[in-house]
Subunit: 337 residues, 2 copies
Amino acid sequence: MRSRMTQPGRKRPTMRDVAREAGVALRTVSRVVNDDPTVGGELAARVRTAIAALEYEPDEHARQLRRGTSGLIGAAMRNFVDAHPVLSAVDATARDNRMTVLAMSTEDEEEREREAVMSMCRRRVDGIIIEPIGTNHQYLAAEMASGLPVVAVDRPCGGIAADTVISDNAAGIGMAFRHLVLHGHRRIAYLGDAERIFTGRERAAAFRACMAANGEPIEGLVHPGQIDTARVAASLAAVRAARATALITGNAQATVEVLRQLGPDAGSLALIGFDDFPLADLLRPGLTVIAQDSATIGRTAIGMLLARMADPDRPVQTVTVPVELIVRGSGELPPPG
Amino acid sequence: MRSRMTQPGRKRPTMRDVAREAGVALRTVSRVVNDDPTVGGELAARVRTAIAALEYEPDEHARQLRRGTSGLIGAAMRNFVDAHPVLSAVDATARDNRMTVLAMSTEDEEEREREAVMSMCRRRVDGIIIEPIGTNHQYLAAEMASGLPVVAVDRPCGGIAADTVISDNAAGIGMAFRHLVLHGHRRIAYLGDAERIFTGRERAAAFRACMAANGEPIEGLVHPGQIDTARVAASLAAVRAARATALITGNAQATVEVLRQLGPDAGSLALIGFDDFPLADLLRPGLTVIAQDSATIGRTAIGMLLARMADPDRPVQTVTVPVELIVRGSGELPPPG
DNA sequence: ATGAAAGCGCTAACAT
DNA sequence: ATGTTAGCGCTTTCAT
């Protein structure tokens, strides 16, 4: 058995090379690589020695081509920073199941989502977790018909029946609303995403329902729409004009923009933000939030994916994950006076 | 030309199916898929119609197997949140070059790094960007000898000669130090990572150099070591005991831990943190930082990777990227009295 | 328990 | 300009 040293420009060894080095058939090497127990002890050892000597690494592409399965899970998320807690949980479970996560960022653009998903399909991922943009995901229908499991996270896909994991948006808004009422507020405003976006719609609707249910409903304080400096400034002005004493923001982006515009006046308005984020506890006052349970969302999503791989005919489900109110100060400010 | 509708359980169409549907040879379909200009207009149209009708997507694994190149760039980063700005830049450039980034998190563990890198190698990535853990990366030697381009980011690899992109740590510490001196501080402390970590070592050394160069050297105020609650508490106590009026923190983790422990006393000590992070501007006082230029780091890293792919024999380089002082308030607090 | 041969879906080399 | 053939590196029948 000649041992070959690492040397510049050398070709990558194949299974064939290992077989030759060990003096066995190709099939035997394949068996050893795949931990097939039917291979004899002595031969197995010889093969393993050859693998180590040549520093052989099996080619996953060849393997996938033959097996028809890639061991890859695609994750098309809107952006990596916000998706990180979810992706962490997905990755952990994937690793436990000897799968690799191929994560791509869609940057909130429908076209990028489509590109990302299609490139995943060309890589023959075994399943896709998607945080959907837009409302039409028909383009996935063909892949799903071919057996691709798809799980939607945070919002549902449009036009196709896919498993879905979402947070309990209505409960979150309800908790925030009641918390503020409990702390004496009677004029409460909401500032969130445009209602064409699923979460924006759900949260705004939940807020309206809270107002209607709250004996003395308060009109004119729901401000859904695109989150940008100008619109938030206008909304804040309206909030002041209506003499609202508390504000619920519909997502982290809105919360941050509001904090930035309030500046040193941050303490003048009770504030509860939907979505927790790092350092929210270091602000003064600390930011009270409705936190999504990202770890559970991620675990549930990949769990549903694995379940559908195991049984493609199981019924399509939507799972709602509870949210949590985290008290840090900004939501407990009393109304002035 | 019979058109096939999407139907449950149907097999995924291959290039062969497209060829049959279009009534052409396999090779012609391959040519069309790869935009080979030598294919006739009428045939090309027929092929494209067949592709659309069958909803055919080429198999990247088969393609890679044949071509010997995967179009994949591996990125093994310590964690996704901190690496996000770098990864964004890498991804953008990769997309421009029709490549896909396969990002994996190493969670600061040497073993996970090795696993991640090896799984990338099995997927035959065309190059690897790595934020190295530990000091021994010999295990990459064989792959590099086989022609795998490797670029280290943030710190150098150990035991192998790889292209490297790092921030100008010494300049950053120098800027922070001089900024504090300029604002009247004479007793300045440093609290950072353990010196067995490259950046911890570089930054602590730079701080010592600053002290030595600053006429009136101050001893006992360099506190490198692991960042945890107990050690930071002890360091802060020592800082107070030494009557230091200003503190430089060596990374974001240290900065956040210090802020958390200072709590409402945050304004009692001038503070400059190495590494910027989101919401640093919303703290009170705003946090003055030394910001790394992540976009440039990412672009440089993948640029070096592409350059080495094009010319494997180019000399190995280390590029140092400038850092920037961002003034927000905490670093401009005067010494008390 | 081990081996020989076929073939996964594609592209490169070589006809025509 | 288009088609035929071979083979990338592996796993899977099917022998032995």
